[in-house]
């Protein structure tokens, strides 16, 4: 694209002013309360500085004042779109630091709910990305299927958004036969719907023109900024914690790690790639769910006699897990009491959004929206 160079030429010929625009915190497409300070020259964006913190609750401080198990409901409210992932990340960290082994059935249940939640989260990303690019109907279609997932999760844990289903030492409740039949129904139905989404939005020519070659994130820049998850995989880097460092039962499951391609006729790492990686991950989620349903062993779902979680003093663990948005890590340090000395949350969106200034330069205002949407951020997690 030579937009930037032509902009420079116009700047030489005609003396024009730059316009500083405040995008957010109340703006329809900043996905929450992100504020971006845009410096534009007409329609072309010269600089963008994200400003975060509007949703800051200092959850890490709250964690220091609660006993280990009590912090689980708060993790739901970080990445509120995929709360199960946050539950799992925190519980894994505490279990690692306290040396708790959880029963196999609980592991399967954990994977089922996190993958279901990943589907819900990616559907939201799909729908809102449609909205960002101006197509309203895909959003409703995405939410229609997301509703099915939420109904499933509601059946299992009684809540639709803030689950706190995964607890330290296991999970909150066992599946019911009703749940399993509904889950199988969903697994059968969903691949058809993915094909429909692809027809409606992914391969729509206007949509492809809007996203191809826009916001190209080279792999080295992505890694330098600590970008992880689908956004990194969109740049062609095949890194997925579920594959590289299988936690829970992911080593027993077969699934692909989709990465960005050039099949759409654009560079690797553009918005379309980041978006399409998510769409292909939906298919992989269905695969994982199918395997989990078949392989799930009987048994207890909670550690017997968990007792008090009281790790040794100065014990620490830094557990990473692949949440819908990237590598979510919890750094738990114990001081030998019932409450942790420090819980640090490494939120994937925090690093993902920090790369924004790097990739919006020279793009147009409409592209800024497309880029923010393709990074798929959740502000609850960035600000914590």
């Amino acid at each position: 694209m030579n937009i930037a160079s032509s902009a420079a030429r116009i700047e030489q010929d005609v003396k024009t002013d730059e316009l500083v625009i405040n995008m957010g915190p109340q703006h329809p497409s900043t996905h929450g309360v992100l504020r971006v300070i845009l410096k534009v020259d007409g329609e072309i964006c010269l600089d963008a500085q994200p400003d975060i913190g509007y949703l800051h609750r200092c959850a890490e401080k709250i964690a220091e004042n609660l006993i280990y198990g009590m912090f689980v409901p708060y993790t739901d409210r970080m990445d509120y779109v995929s709360g199960m992932g946050c539950n799992l990340g925190y519980c894994m960290a505490v279990e690692t630091v306290a040396g708790i082994q959880i029963p196999p059935r609980a592991e399967y249940l954990r994977v089922i709910v996190t993958e279901l939640n990943r589907i819900a989260s990616h559907l939201l990303a799909f729908g809102t990305y449609g909205l960002d690019t101006g197509a309203i109907t895909p959003f409703l279609y995405g939410f229609r299927e997301r509703e099915l997932v939420l109904d499933l999760l509601e059946m299992l844990c009684g809540a639709r958004l803030t689950y706190s289903y995964i607890r330290i030492g296991g999970v909150d409740g066992d599946v019911t036969p009703d749940f399993m039949s509904k889950l199988k129904e969903f697994i059968d139905l969903f691949p058809k719907k993915i094909r429909e989404y692809n027809k409606l939005l992914t391969f729509n020519h206007i949509f492809m023109k809007r996203t191809t070659g826009v916001g190209v994130l080279p792999p080295d820049v992505a890694i330098a900024y600590g970008v992880t998850g689908p956004s990194l995989r969109g740049s062609g880097v095949k890194r997925d914690v579920r594959r590289d460092d299988p936690y829970s039962i992911y080593d027993k499951l077969e699934f692909d790690v989709p990465v960005g391609t050039t099949q759409h006729g654009g560079p690797i790492g553009d918005c379309w790639n980041r978006y399409h990686v998510r769409m292909r991950e939906l298919e992989e989620c269905v695969k994982i769910l199918q395997q989990c349903v078949q392989m799930m062993p009987p048994g207890p779902i909670m550690v017997e006699k968990l007792g008090r979680v009281k790790p040794a003093a100065k014990a620490e663990a830094y557990t990473r897990m692949e949440n819908a948005r990237g590598e979510l890590a919890f750094y738990v340090v114990s001081d030998g009491t019932m409450t942790p000395a420090r819980v640090k949350v490494r939120a994937p969106s925090f690093s993902n959004i920090s790369v924004l200034p790097e990739i919006v330069r020279g793009q147009m205002i409409a592209d800024v929206v497309a880029i923010i949407g393709s990074l798929d951020i959740v502000l609850g997690e960035i600000d914590r």
Partner: protein, 152 residues
């Protein structure tokens, strides 16, 4: 691909994919809507639904375990103990704070508090969101002295 063919294939693909998308939306125009008519038709909440608590006062032993387990300290309990006799004078839950996390119900030794199916407890005042579960009791002066009210 030369730029001429690219130009024409762009136009062709623009039109054809638009028509494909329009055929999908047209199909849904004639399919049944999925809207739930919420205020008219109440949705069925599943059995494990975590709504407003259900409190069984006769079972409660006033042990404060639920209040201690609450991460947000939204439960306030008042108990009068006279020997083996237990009188629950207060059992208030502040639904401004409650996260509906179910952590209070798990440790209860008497199984007297559960999450219920009710979820419509909006109120116009802050006070209205504090639900008092215990039946009101008149206390004697002596009982008032031994009444123990605690949040945690």
């Amino acid at each position: 691909m030369s730029s001429v063919t690219a130009y024409f294939s762009d136009i062709y693909r623009g039109l054809s994919t638009a028509l494909v998308g329009m055929s999908i939306t047209l199909r849904y125009l004639f399919s049944r809507p999925v809207t739930e008519m919420y205020p008219d038709v109440k949705p069925m909440t599943p059995t494990r639904y975590r709504g407003v608590h259900v409190f069984e006062e006769e079972k409660c032993i006033g042990c404060y375990v639920c209040a201690k387990a609450c991460p947000v300290e939204c439960i306030e309990i008042g108990v009068v103990r006279k020997g083996k006799e237990i009188k629950i004078t207060r059992f208030d839950i502040d639904y401004q704070k409650c996260m509906f996390c179910d952590l209070c119900c798990e440790p209860c030794p008497a199984h007297c508090i559960h999450m219920g199916p009710e979820f419509e407890k909006a109120s116009f005042t802050r006070k209205g969101t504090i639900l008092r579960f215990a039946t009101p009791k008149s206390l004697t002066e002596e009982e008032k002295k031994v009444e123990k009210v605690a949040k945690k």
